[in-house]
């Protein structure tokens, strides 16, 4: 890789020093800019990496399921908890309850029925009370409950 010529033979060549200087300056300029560009290309991902991402935590241990102002009493909302559905219910008396929305029978998504004030699964008529306990139909186990907290207007559901 090394180019180590001892020097040109005698018999002076034409003076190319100006040409060489401009070439050299051009080379230096290119070198400088592309070095800077490469440095930027390395530093940019690092800076983006260090900036906190959109979802700040891996485990998704808690999520803002809804806003109090958007959830009237005796109604419910299905929300995303990681990749599993959850159901958040505001009872007629104003209490907040949250459960896994996966029916323990055959994994359908349950819903809230304001008329009967029960959680209902449309697939095979499974019924759960407001404690998540299975009280009718095929479901063999209660729905997993999640602790709910309020943070201002936000309703925060945590993993158990």
């Amino acid at each position: 890789m090394s180019n180590i010529t001892a020097g040109k033979a005698a018999g002076a060549p034409p003076d190319r020093s100006v040409e060489l200087t401009t070439r050299r300056r051009f080379l230096d300029y290119l070198l400088g800019t592309s070095a800077l560009a490469t440095l930027a290309a390395i530093v940019y991902p690092i800076i983006r990496f260090m900036a906190p991402p959109h979802i700040v935590e891996a485990m998704q241990n808690s999520v803002v399921a809804a806003k109090l102002s958007e959830l009237p009493p005796n109604s419910a909302k299905i929300f995303k908890f990681g990749s599993k559905p959850g159901i958040l219910i505001r009872t007629a008396s104003g209490e907040l309850k949250a459960f896994s929305a996966v029916c323990t029978h055959l994994d359908c998504i349950v819903q809230y029925r304001p008329e009967t004030k029960q959680i209902w699964c449309a697939c095979h008529n499974g019924q759960y009370n407001l404690n998540g306990e299975n009280i009718g139909g095929p479901p063999p186990r209660p729905l997993e409950p999640y602790p709910v907290n309020k943070r201002g207007d936000d309703i925060v559901v945590n993993r158990a």
Binding site: S2, I4, T38, I46, F49, M50, I55, A58, M59
Partner: protein, 354 residues
């Protein structure tokens, strides 16, 4: 405020001009085998890449059995360029060990450990073992199925050593089994203990190289040219490092490092579990050793043999003295080295094909 004012300000306080003079004087010998001189610097460069990407990963990684896998998944999917940083870290680890082996073998065959460079060699062997420990401890950190079982098997093997084996196993695992305690412990080794030790030994190693300069093999002693380190050799180094960055980026994008499935301590080991390639030759050899040799357990003999070979590495400069006095010894050592290289290569290939 000119460059010169800054320079003289710094020089008065940090003596940088003395450093600058030393740097100007630094030279690299040029001969047929000069190409091997690049590999030490390349290993160092890849180590720096590891430190930088490792520190970045530290910002998001969580060292507990419940969270480790998810945190790595998080890095791969949610963090911007997380996939790039993580894949580079994993690939660069392997590349570094490869260049380390090449560096070590080239030093061995060129007898660069000859007087006065024995301590450089010893510090280098220490760095070899530190790097292997880095690799072994880092491998567990994603807490996936493959790494869990590789760690189980690896620490099991450590436990087989007579007398101290059981204690070593418990020390490594943080208990009797591989659990979250092992993960936390390995994490501590990987990000604190080993880097501290590596800093000391790299510092020593590089310092000694500056002190003694580059070794020139006997046959070129009378006939070699020299090149200045700054800027000539350094710029060549730079080209090599740039190409290494390119290779790493290519590997990260084309062969992204897999995450696999989360470790389940109660699931049976998946079939065909293999350690990383730099352990493969030992793993494969152990498979071939018969269960019993005379009255001794075959596996124990195998492990002890490898340990003795490792220990022997340390004393190479002290037994392979100058060929002027012991000419035949040089050939013996070359042959031994060649056999070792061949053995490692063949066993690694067999390990992969099996």
């Amino acid at each position: 405020m000119t460059v010169d004012t800054v320079k003289s300000w710094l020089d008065e306080r940090l003596s940088i001009s003395a450093l600058g003079q030393m740097a100007q004087k630094k030279e690299v010998p040029l001969h047929r085998q000069s190409i091997w001189y690049y590999f030490g610097g390349m290993t160092l460069f890849l180590f720096v890449v590891q430190v930088v990407t490792g520190i970045l990963l530290l910002l998001y990684y969580r060292p507990s059995a419940e969270n480790a896998f998810e945190s790595v998944q998080f890095i791969m999917t949610e963090v911007k360029f997380g996939w790039l940083i993580r894949s580079i870290h994993s690939w660069s680890a392997n590349l570094m060990i490869l260049t380390l082996f090449i560096h070590m073998f080239s030093v061995y065959f060129m007898r660069a450990y000859d007087r006065p460079r024995e301590v450089t060699w010893v510090s280098g062997v220490v760095l070899l073992f530190l790097s292997i420990c880095f690799g072994f401890s880092g491998y567990l950190l994603p807490w996936n199925e493959v790494s869990f079982f590789a760690t189980k098997v690896g620490t099991e093997i450590a436990g087989v050593v007579p007398v101290v084996g059981k204690t070593m196993l418990r020390f490594l695992r943080g208990g009797d089994e591989v659990t979250g305690a092992t993960l936390t412990r390995f994490f501590g080794f990987h990000v604190a203990v080993l880097p501290a030790m590596a800093t000391v030994f790299i510092g020593l190693h590089v310092l000694l190289v500056q002190l003694h300069g580059m070794h020139v093999p006997a046959r070129y002693q009378q006939n070699y040219r020299r090149m200045r380190f700054f800027p000539n050799f350094f710029m060549r180094d730079l080209i090599g490092w740039l190409l290494a960055i390119g290779v790493l980026a290519a590997l990260a994008a084309i062969f992204p490092w897999e995450l696999g499935v989360k470790a389940d301590p109660f699931a049976p080991a998946p079939a065909g579990i293999k350690p990383e390639w730099y352990f493969l030759f030992m793993f494969q050899t152990l498979k071939y050793i018969p269960a019993k040799i005379l009255i001794f357990d075959g596996e124990v003999i195998g492990i002890l043999t490898f340990m003795r070979a490792g220990a022997a590495l340390f004393i190479v400069p002290f037994i392979n003295r100058s060929p002027d006095y012991y000419p035949r010894r040089r050939m013996v050592f070359n042959v031994l080295g060649g056999i070792a290289l061949l053995f490692i290569a063949v066993m690694t290939v067999i390990g992969y094909l099996a």
